[in-house]
Symmetry: C2
DNA sequence: GATGTCTTGAGTAACGTTTCCTAAAGGGCG
DNA sequence: CGCCCTTTAGGAAACGTTACTCAAGACATC
């Protein structure tokens, strides 16, 4: 809110500078001057370059001897340009090296920009989704731009607002934590697809994984191996909306339902920490501190990053995986596939999610009035060496 | 090149549609209609929302009963607005929920957008740099937007050009592989900082790590432990410019020099594969295939991702780290810090690199004429359990 | 042969903001 | 008290592109 006001001071300084007619800029920083060494290691300085004016659509029109309108039509592949016209204009574009200015285009039409918000770049699952998105957009005029990692509501709001301000044509929000009202606000302002969050809205389209089914597969796998005391590490959540919509809640529910379905309700044990390595570590410490009769023989971590923490805690306790404890994760990240780790996990088909998100987004950009849609994908269990029969 | 021409067809369709006056859009997709189920799992549809006009600076001016110019001045903290004026305008901005349109601003002044290009989102080192960048920009009006992962020259060119087209105020390019000419082109068009690539240019500023020093620290560490047969896994490179400028080349050189300095030149052994997990895996297979007398007792992988491949190959060969082979990486990623892995690595202080990049960028945005600068940071060795004395 | 319709091209007014310029107040100084 | 300078406010012209509107010619229809 307040940051909106405090514009960068460069502009103010320049204007004041002109008004007071102080020393011209070129005298303040003479070229080839070496400044005192204020960097940790060292500095080298070189002469500055010169910049030149950008080619515009007017230049192209003049060079091709046609009207500006015609150039614009060719640029947009719009109706009403004869083949000869197209040829002439394209030659002029190539000869001048013209590239349309996205900001100016956005003022009237589209910016040909798709904004993607990822909650955490460090989680190796999200690049999969991103790959699906970029691959689907590769042959279009659209360009993908990412928001920087956002951990909280405030950061998310800043990033989404910034994308709206920049006139993006469509947004893909991956696992957003913002309240529904904010998502609706965004979806109303611009075509939006929310990925990895359950719950639907008329304002945006949704792509999710069937998290309940994924959790059920993990429990079935572990129960099939003979485990009974199967614990689950969940992300702690109190907000009622997020409790309904966030994937972790669905995984925990799927775990509970599947445990009952396998007649293991008495062994249901959910530790709520957080979907981080630290959360997995702490959750496991709690589980290992239980009396032997209650201690789980298998842990289903809600995410692979959580499983990393589990493995760390297990190693620290002098135990080994899977002999002393079977461990399963969720997301099938490269970490899970890493040989020495070999973590049983659930593959969410991130690429497929990204592809679907783009498809829905382009559909909605083409027809903003169409009813909103939810696509649900099925996950697949990937068994690896971190799960085996229980010791007893 | 050709993709520049083939605009998305939506505009063309709409224009043709109007010209031919076919059925209006609302009849093509009647609301509440359920389409056939063509998604992998299932679909739900809901009614669409309505969108409303964006608040503009004109609305603010009218509401505050002042001129548009005055509002603009307040927005930019520019000279010539009295305190009362500022107060009036800010109240109007808050009451209306006005946010300036970045694209329109970019047409005359700045877009308040900084573009960051990361070569590979999956490499856990780059988020560190990004954190440094975003942290430094948190209290400014600037917003960071990332290009999606680019693996090659072509992708890089597409992303950088897209950022130029969008009128970004500054660019941070992390470890770009583009030829120098392209970097100069970009740097001439917009303030630019290149991170993690040696070699300087008058057109842009540079922030690098002292890779030679980092490699020397690794060799010194291993030699100090008693190792003599220390091998290095490098990224294969033939392009002469990149051979001079890319960090991997500097690390390899640092390795060679340090080996000589420790009187170990006869054991210099550089395997050139690639800076990927696969590259580390293949390189290690080659090294392990050597006759016992030549086989290294320690491997210095040029990056932590490479070390991941090394560990995988070692485990697959039935050997163990560090008893049979000491392994060191580079970048000090979270993977290296992960307890069960505990990889000796070199910390590049990514946050510090990001911070310096932003500082240089803002300096240059404020004064485009200032001479270009290079900042070099010193890396730190982080010894962990993956390196120990050699067996013999 | 007159009247539409379709096609192609061009002129012009937006879009939302900043920058340049000018005008009107205030205030110190001779 | 008149003059100049400083401060404050506003009008108008950019910025680069697209959407709307219109005109002229080709061609088919009655």
């Amino acid at each position: 809110m307040t940051s909106r006001r405090c514009a960068h001071t460069a502009g103010a300084l320049r204007e004041r500078h002109l008004a007071r007619s102080g020393p011209p800029p070129e005298l303040r920083n003479p070229p080839y001057t070496r400044l005192p060494n204020d960097s940790p290691k060292g500095k080298d300085r070189m002469e500055p370059p010169a910049t030149r004016r950008r080619i515009t659509i007017v230049d192209v029109a003049r060079h091709a001897q046609v009207s500006v309108t015609s150039v614009s039509k060719v640029l947009r592949n719009a109706y009403g340009a004869s083949p000869e016209m197209q040829e002439k204009v394209r030659r002029a574009i190539d000869e001048l090296g013209f590239r349309p200015h996205a900001g100016a285009r956005g003022l009237r039409g589209q910016t040909y920009t798709i904004g993607v918000m990822l909650p955490d770049i460090r989680n190796p699952f999200f690049p999969e989704i991103l790959d699906g998105i970029t691959a689907s957009l590769k042959d279009t005029e659209y360009q993908v731009l990412l928001g920087p990692g956002c951990n909280g509501e405030k950061e998310e709001a800043r990033v989404t607002e910034a994308m709206l301000d920049r006139g993006m044509d469509g947004l893909v929000l991956v696992a957003p934590v913002s309240p529904r009202a904010h998502l609706d606000h965004v979806g109303t302002a611009v075509p939006t697809v929310v990925v990895g969050r359950h719950g639907t809205s008329p304002a945006y389209d949704t792509v999710t994984d069937d998290d309940m089914a994924g959790a059920a597969q993990v429990v079935a796998h572990l129960a099939g191996l003979g485990h009974r005391r199967i614990a689950h590490i969940d992300h702690h959540e109190t907000d009622p909306t997020r409790l309904m919509e966030m994937p972790n809640a669905h995984r925990a529910n799927g775990y509970r339902l599947a445990m009952r379905a396998h007649g293991l309700e008495e062994w249901i044990n959910v530790v709520a920490t957080s979907y981080t390595q630290q959360g997995g570590y702490e959750g496991t410490r709690q589980l290992l501190a239980l009396p032997a009769a209650d201690r789980p023989t298998a842990v289903f971590a809600g995410a692979d990053v959580v499983a990393m923490g589990v493995l760390e805690a297990v190693a620290e306790a002098g135990l080994s995986v899977p002999d002393d404890l079977s461990v399963a994760g969720y997301d099938n990240t490269t970490f899970a596939a890493f040989g020495p780790v070999s973590l049983t996990s659930v593959d969410q088909a991130g690429r497929e999610m990204g592809r679907n998100a783009v498809r829905l987004l382009l559909e909605r950009i083409a027809d903003r009035g169409r009813p909103s849609t939810k696509v649900t994908l099925s996950p697949t269990l990937v068994p690896r060496r971190s799960t085996t029969r229980p010791a007893e």
